[in-house]
């Protein structure tokens, strides 16, 4: 493509960048995608090998040469931290994601209606605005995103009271359906669903960007057992390359330039002029001109680019309100039940996280506090959701055994305890819960440039400052207690692991904020169209626009937003 005809430059080729390339080329625009990493072929991810791909971290930036740094609890440190969620290759992190695609909902966007900030101790540091648009505004974009990323799932899985219509816990337009049916159930699904039913907490089969049938020339999932942290060598799992970029490149209007590392954004008189980049470590900076620039390099990296570019920041908002989801991991063993799936040939029959439990999304309903208060013992109002799966058949052995626990205090077991764990898990049914909660957004949680450290390209790395609010930590403990109550008292399980959120967080994959979108230019970096308030025609499409963290896996929401922005930009 001639550089003179470029309508837009997109920085990053992952979920947001790929979607932008798809939508903008569909509109007839000529785009150049600058991707720091190299192109990979699906075949490069074979043979499956947990040592190579996961333990030796073959696909992620090396922490010793390409870290971000964490300032620690005293905000004075500069400790290298591994960016395991920032995959530098064509397709970005969509190449190794888990492809859990639950939507953010009313409860995530209309924050003031659901979160009772007044009841939270030490709430003066919390800033939880409503999003600049509603769930109803977003709904059409969710539908397009789900159909173009080929999500498998089912609307209306939850059965209400007798005579009432089945409903979707992620609210859907009546009559809406996903493009593919849900993935086949794991052997534990029946037991888990009936246990949660008894507890009055209905679970459902969560939407995944994983094929349940052959579609678009890509086969149905083979349940190989190598999911998160591995790339899919048969393209059953959607990624930016096999969906968005494939379409964009097919138009002939998308020029994908790999090993092009953006160093800063160019602008003049408050208007974007293009992107500076290098093509080798410490290489000569070059400039590519374009009338519009879309950043989608993941939140911390996009914030880093904004800081490196010296984008005007009169209100000191760039990099602030960084959020990570508070997280809990809870494991149970069921001594009375045999291991799931003992009859099948292979041990792995499902991808992790397909069963979703959203009952704790709202803990106490703020709007109807008195009549509908469900748990008067806690001040928590907004909660989160669980992904539920079997550690034995859904997680590869090294990851599972390194995290093996035999109770709250016996963690990372070894010796006799490890033998006991192994004997138990290969004989008895086990279940693990991964909790994702909303995060209290705080101004001081932020991204800066590290003055003392450069990456292997010769560019200052991002330095993060982060403390989880006590609310986040109490929320994860609450989630552990509620689930334990159900699994032990109704399911007959025994607790094996209960990890809750600590105050410190050196980095986590569910990352958002730090380039907030909003309606008030003094309190946000981006306008409601995700365009910089300061530099016209500079847009940001990754999850950094999110004003608050929400409480689900963020992918589909940021993708839907990329559709919304790219279909409307002029």
């Amino acid at each position: 493509m001639s550089d003179a005809k470029i309508d837009a430059i997109i920085v990053g080729s992952g979920a947001g960048g790929g979607t932008a390339a798809r939508v903008l080329t569909d509109r007839g625009w000529n785009v150049v995608v600058l991707e720091k990493g190299k192109p990979w072929h699906a075949d490069d991810f074979l043979p499956f090998d947990e040592l190579h791909f996961r333990e030796h971290k073959a696909l992620i930036p090396k922490v010793d040469t390409d870290p971000q740094t964490y300032a620690g609890l005293d905000d004075k440190q500069s400790v290298p931290s591994e960016r395991w969620w920032e995959i530098e290759m064509v397709g970005g992190s969509t190449m190794v994601w888990d492809a859990n695609f639950p939507r953010y909902a009313d409860e995530d966007m209309a924050m003031s209606q659901y979160l009772d900030v007044a009841s939270i101790p030490n709430n003066n540091v919390i800033d939880m605005p409503d999003w600049p648009w509603s769930y109803d505004d977003m709904q059409p974009w969710f539908e397009i995103a789900e159909h173009e990323w080929l999500v498998s799932g089912r609307a209306g899985q939850t059965v209400g009271k007798k005579g009432a219509k089945p409903w979707s816990q992620e609210r859907m337009r009546p009559g809406y359906e996903y493009p593919q049916p849900p993935l086949v159930d794991h052997a534990s699904t029946k037991f888990l669903m009936s246990t949660f039913e008894k507890a009055g907490m209905p679970a459902y089969r969560g939407p995944r960007a994983i094929n349940s049938r052959t579609i678009d020339g890509r086969p149905a999932c083979s349940f190989c057992g190598y999911d998160q942290f591995f790339a899919c060598p048969v393209n059953s799992r959607s990624n930016s390359m096999n969906t968005m970029l494939a379409h964009a490149l097919h138009t002939g209007r998308c020029d994908l330039r790999t090993e092009h590392c953006a160093t800063r954004v160019g602008f003049e008189n408050g208007k974007v002029t293009g992107v500076y980049y290098i093509t080798e470590p410490n290489g000569k900076e070059q400039f590519l001109a374009a009338p519009r620039v879309f950043l989608s390099a993941q939140p911390i990296q996009s914030a880093r680019l904004m800081l490196l570019s010296n984008v005007p920041d009169p209100n000191k908002v760039v990099g602030h309100w960084l959020t990570y989801h508070p997280k809990a991991n809870i494991d149970f063993i069921f001594k009375k039940l045999k291991s799931w799936d003992t009859k099948s040939e292979g041990a792995s029959r499902n991808n992790i996280g397909t069963l979703q439990l959203r009952d704790l999304y709202i803990i106490n309903d703020k709007k109807h506090k008195k009549p509908f208060a469900r748990d008067k013992k806690t001040y928590l109002t907004k909660g989160g959701k669980f992904s539920v799966y079997d550690p034995y058949t859904c997680i590869p052995p090294l990851r599972n055994l390194k995290g093996a626990a035999m109770g709250k205090t016996k963690t990372s077991v070894w010796g006799r305890d490890l033998v006991d764990y192994l004997n138990e898990v290969r004989s008895n049914a086990a279940v693990t819960f991964s909790f994702t909660g909303d995060a209290m957004s705080m101004y001081d949680n932020r991204v800066e440039l590290d003055p003392a450290r450069k990456d292997s390209w010769g560019i200052p790395v991002a330095r993060t400052f982060y403390h989880h609010h006590q609310y986040d930590r109490d929320l994860t403990q609450y989630a552990v207690d509620r689930i334990s109550n159900v699994m032990i008292n109704i399911g007959g399980g025994e607790l094996r692991k209960a990890e809750t959120q600590a105050e410190a967080n050196p980095g986590y994959g569910h990352v958002h904020g730090c380039l907030r979108a909003g309606t008030d230019p003094t309190k946000s970096v981006l306008d409601p169209m995700c365009q910089s308030w300061q530099v016209k025609n500079l847009y940001v499409l990754d999850a950094s626009f999110m004003p608050t963290a929400g409480a689900s896996n963020p992918s589909i929401t940021m993708i839907a937003n990329a559709y919304r922005v790219c279909r409307n930009v002029q």
Binding site: P47, H56, S339, Y392, W414
Partner: protein, 187 residues
């Protein structure tokens, strides 16, 4: 397809390899109905890995320094506590020393933080050598996958010939008293 090229080289001296094997067996001890680290030859994995480059795994240069130091420290502590090498004492005794290592309280000159780091790595690389793909040298004949039930359905494991058990070495009373005295004198 990516292709693992193993050099066939080994990093450890025969003594270090035997010491590491003793440590790994304490992390995952074999029993009558379960294979252990020795059955999986898990030490072959780390012995080969440590000859590889930073490109294969970024932490290899660190481990190349940590392993010889950690093995020497735990062997010296075994000599001090039991009057024998870590390769000669019973697995439970090795476990006692490993617990001290984990807590950063192993007698000797190794800094506490390094001790904990060494223990964490010994545990990690033992599990990797046991349950990783056999192409890396450990998990001999897929023994752990077959018992655990990864890729293939779980099989029973029954040890037919029991390995000669090392009996716990009791420290001689003579050696005990001066050792304590000298420690006290140092502090």
């Amino acid at each position: 397809m990516w292709n693992l090229v193993r050099t066939g080289q080994h990093f450890f001296t025969p003594e270090q390899r035997a010491q590491c094997e003793a440590l790994f067996e304490a992390i995952l001890p074999g029993g009558e109905t379960n294979p252990g680290a020795r059955d999986a030859d898990a030490v072959e994995y780390i012995d080969g890995l440590l000859t590889m480059s930073h490109e294969i795994y970024f932490d290899i240069p660190t481990l190349q320094k940590l392993y010889p130091a950690g093995l020497a420290a735990i062997d010296a502590a075994a000599q001090q506590a039991y009057g024998a090498s870590v390769t000669e004492i019973a697995t439970e005794q090795v476990a006692t020393l490993l617990q001290q290592m984990k807590d950063g309280k192993l007698p000797g000159s190794m800094p506490a933080a390094d001790q904990t780091k060494f223990f964490t790595n010994v545990r990690a690389q033992c599990i990797e050598g046991c349950f990783g793909d056999p192409r890396w040298g450990g998990n001999k004949n897929g023994v752990m996958w077959r018992w655990y039930g990864w890729i293939v359905p779980a099989e029973r494991f029954q040890r037919t010939t029991l390995a000669p058990q090392k009996l716990p070495i009791k420290r001689k009373a003579k050696a005990k008293a001066p050792a304590r005295k000298s420690r006290r004198a140092r502090t």
